[in-house]
Symmetry: D2
Subunit: 383 residues, 4 copies
């Protein structure tokens, strides 16, 4: 009998964890996967409490991810995929373990901290023929998909300039006053051993890189970056010149010290025939211009929206779809391709519409190149 | 042992029904109620298919709502509440039946078509001491709650003028060309027996009335309305003068023939000390002005947001929360008060923060007054 | 020899008068008329000081408008037109005097206070074959002209609903507190003998009426109005249902007590095929929607702008043209038709593109109907 | 007797010249200077026609600027300043000539093409004790002055990041198709001998540099730039990393090939306590944020506007002031300081509020540094 629902497990995501809850909500919105197993906390009581609240059978709650991967992989009704929502520094080991046990993986971003780790995960997923998604959720927004479609269709011609930014305010009190009491930055984010070689570029700069890559299909080949740390260990502000494989230049700016901005990811793609602008804080609209003509405001859900943006429409036009639905759309693609695989169906290329481990690898490469360029007096550095 | 989760049932909402899915998704986001029983379709096979897909036990799927109400009410682990997502014309009978069997009710809007029915449901819920929510979901948005809080706090002083509108485009092809082939309006909406005495005012005008009442706490006492039917049976466009119990006047405008608008609910409240504006299509922001000062853009999730708007914050500021979360917030309040009741806890007034059957009654009164005024040459008519 | 420049006179407009200066600036922008005569102040010294500063010949400065009209009309090089920028209550007598002496008139709005006066001026201008402009300057904006053109061209089909408003904040302190010390309203505006029968509707409601009439070409036939005086003599807030000669309904809302708005004239015209929106505070853009298609943002000065909006383009697209240029555009039309008349040329109908005395008459009719309706419990009242 | 009006002359600016007309209009708006002499065209007949139309005395029209400078400087009632609105390549010689004859100069931007010329003009103006303004008109906008004031007052703390751009669409057809027939770029702009070493950076990049310098008071010390010429001689697109003397970094982006933008100068200044954003296409507003608080929209003309932004307010709040008034404000400062000098009054520093020849020198330095950096593989280059 054809399967219509999957079982999934979660590592991390106890009752008070924000991002784990978002993942469960996004999957619940899809109605096609059921939380079946988990290791939500290293604290035994908390772990049990989660299991009860999430409605898990008592034999599907595990003391650690090793046990979970091993036990689940041996079950008849094992979980189809695992969602990893633990601290970043643990992503690599956990993902590797589940891959080795033959279980598809969805992992929060950033994927990991070193290029070797990233490449190893990519290799392993390929070797095991498993799906591996990294939840760059912004690419799940319908209008991001519409932007991609318009560019794929040649609507704006050859891309000639890209201006993208991700501005936040929340770490503004970390600016060089040396007063540790005011910072909102988690301690681990300031510690390179736990946070990796970059804070701001790693956390939000990678979203610029990933969203631009998704929309344009262009490959970023060089960066020239200047980072500001304001006397802290890691970067809080970055301005980056970029060059793509088609010769186009542009700017990526990301910051956690820009007052007035919360999650201000804004992508502007300029082509020889027109331009497209998308704003994460206003995600249901797309600002589209053909040269010489009035700017048009595309509205999600209208009849002129096509491709996967139309397919993934949840609520009628004019009723905002927010970040949860973008997340759900990423899971939609992951779940549907696993279901097709399970059911022995052919998977069309366009349905592999989720950020994969390769996107995670590109993110790590981007971070390394930016940090290297900054060290080298902003010299152009290959990605 | 203290309960932390509820069981709920659904009437209507088969696999292809849009609004039923929205309700399930909204409840799933809350993670505090589990779909346990249902009667999703009058078609036996479809009903069974839903039961399987939604993961129901085989003895919790019913052939009709009578059976469902009767059987469930006799169970030890009966459903705590029922969600009614059937065609409008059936709301009254179904809601009445579950109330009579002692089960809390959540009902899609509009509640029903006659004032007698509405008042009867209100009476019955009171008599049985049951919660009865009507899903005017817009009042679930965090920033609508912030607007209410600012006005409750006296931030804009005494309210002196209210300008509110709900504009849509989707029925523009129904304008007086007599060509039935182009209409997008469901047949039942054109049939007063199924749709009630009003189309546009009933469908979207009531959202203006409800949202304004929620935000301001004012009572609407008189209307002077002019409706346009464009040679169709029911209204497609309405312009309404309004008077509130504090003496303030204003305008409510609603339309389904206004090009460029999808779900353009916009509420503007003007007071003696300032003003507040909220837009459903841009729901995470609130435009707040103190007289003589710059307009301020309040952003959901920031530290200056207070009251229930802060409490119901799901995702950090700058990550849009859409209609699904507004729906979830309505369910949050319903579920929490039922849980408190079940657990014998005291329920603070401010936690009864969902649109109740009384709001449904007010909606019906509003529709009747508007239609009456229009018939009477736009004379002022008491609500 | 063909004339390329006119001579004009001014009544009112001393060195400290705001609106007189605006008129001089607007005419100066046109570079086609020179201030040649005047009676700027009833105070002799001030009048002389103005004459010197404005560079007038000593024999072209007059002690009152009677003398001015008489003397100028007898000169070989007499002024071609007079601009009247005195207090409203004096408009009628001054305008009448210049018309009687055969001099074209440009008069600030409102034209006058009674319908009889308005009609008399209209009659006199016609009898004398003189041009008479009333400076409803908003119709001079290029994008208002583009809106008119699109509607004339049938771009939005048959007009079915009109929603227009003019909101201001500046008199908010006049709301019912009885404290005369806080009011910003000039004393004369509170005195019906000086201000006429209406304050808010007379001052800004007429701009709604005039701009809508200009853009749509529709005739307003009935109003149903409710006015709020907040215990003052005259209205400060108005909500008005309107009916046009093609059967369309709509709402006009005007107020001087709406916090957050300065000169918030917003005109939205909805038709069977599309819609148009224009905002006075954002005047270089026009928001145009064809049904079923994305909203388009027309930008002044682009190649797709046509008709008189293109002709009257002063500065390249993207460089804002403000109110002064709207004023200049009104004067452009007045000056050009006078020049053509002087040069014996034929004047095409479309070049009579300025608000005439007839528009002034319509404004007075509108005020009277609104005040009458309000007195009569908001009954529909013919304009 | 105290002078209240000046006489000015114009070089360039015949009847069909756009920018010359803007200068005359801006001066006319001020009402404090009269066009008295000129050399508007090298074509004798055109020059005479201009003189007649502009109302000049026959002995104040000159065949060339040499004659004009010489003759005027010898008159009792000589012109007080000259406005130079000729092609860029001629600015230097003309400006130098009038300075040498002791006449104050207002010159269109760019000042000139080489650093030596710029420095020579600066030196000469100082030596002769003459005012020399370069019409970077954007600094004349009231809200640009308000931005400067807020930053001067410390409202946003220490500046930590600057993100500024000037995007245009108009040369998009020049992108690498080699088809000369489609270009809108004047021939002379493509010719380095006439246009200087840069097109896009020289024309609009300098506006970014100048406006940022004016608002922030910071000195730009280094740039790292990448320019795109799309196979043309000169740049059409530029992305530039910048470093200021207080250590702050940022990005300047300018382009003439970005669809959807007309004169999209946008300045965003981020400080340790808040942020300010100003947009040239929406010039009457300023977006101001204190960290942790809602963004505020400052509106020109309101009572909370202070300093020179309040002083230079022409029209009440809510009535847009456009580019012409920004130009007029530049002339206001120039004319007022000349009047004070003529009248022997002391000139307070803050009244020297116009872009001076030194700003012109800075602009040339900026262009040179950007072009140099681009040649040098985007290496950081001192300005």
């Amino acid at each position: 009998m054809k399967r219509t629902k999957l079982r999934y497990g979660m590592v991390g995501g106890d009752l008070h964890a924000f991002i784990g809850r978002v993942h469960r909500q996004a999957i619940a919105i899809e109605e096609t996967a059921v939380l079946t197993a988990g290791c939500f906390s290293s604290h035994v009581d908390k772990n049990q409490e989660c299991a009860r609240f999430y409605g898990l059978a008592s034999d599907r709650i595990y003391k650690d991810y090793h046990e979970m991967a091993q036990m689940e992989s041996s079950k008849e009704d094992k979980i189809d995929f695992v969602t990893i929502v633990t601290p970043n520094v643990t992503h690599y080991d956990i993902a590797k373990t589940f891959l080795e046990h033959g279980i598809h993986v969805v992992c929060e971003k950033p994927l990991c901290f070193t290029l070797q780790q990233a490449v190893e995960l990519e290799r392993l997923a390929k070797e095991k023929d498993l799906f591996f998604a990294v939840t760059y959720a912004y690419t799940g927004y319908a209008m991001v998909k519409q932007a991609k479609k318009l560019i794929d269709d040649g609507y704006i011609g050859k891309i000639v300039n890209i201006n993208a930014e991700y501005l936040q305010e929340w770490l503004i009190d970390d600016i060089g006053n040396g007063d540790e009491s005011t910072t909102k930055l988690s301690v681990w984010r300031k510690e390179p051993k736990l946070a990796g070689i970059s804070n701001c570029v790693g956390d939000i700069g990678t979203h610029i890189e990933n969203t631009v890559a998704y929309i344009t299909g262009l490959k970023l080949i060089k960066v020239a970056a200047v980072l500001d740390t304001f006397e802290k260990e890691l970067d809080l502000n970055a301005n980056i010149l970029v060059e793509f494989d088609n010769g186009a230049h542009g700017v990526f700016a990301c910051s956690q010290v820009c007052a007035g901005h919360a999650n201000g990811l804004v992508i502007r793609i300029f082509g020889s025939e027109g331009a497209i602008e998308w704003k994460q804080e206003d995600p249901n609209y797309l600002y589209v211009t053909k040269k010489g003509q009035p700017m048009q405001i595309y509205n999600r859900g209208m009849s002129y929206i096509g491709g996967r943006a139309a397919l993934l429409n949840h609520i009628p036009s004019g009723h905002p779809e927010g970040l949860l639905i973008a997340f759900a759309n990423v899971y939609h693609a992951v779940i549907q391709v696993i279901l097709k695989k399970e059911n022995g169906e052919i998977i069309p290329m366009e349905e592999l519409d989720f950020p994969s481990v390769s996107a995670g690898v590109d993110g790590v490469k981007f971070i390394y190149a930016v940090v290297e360029s900054n060290k080298n007096n902003s010299a152009w550095t290959e990605v």
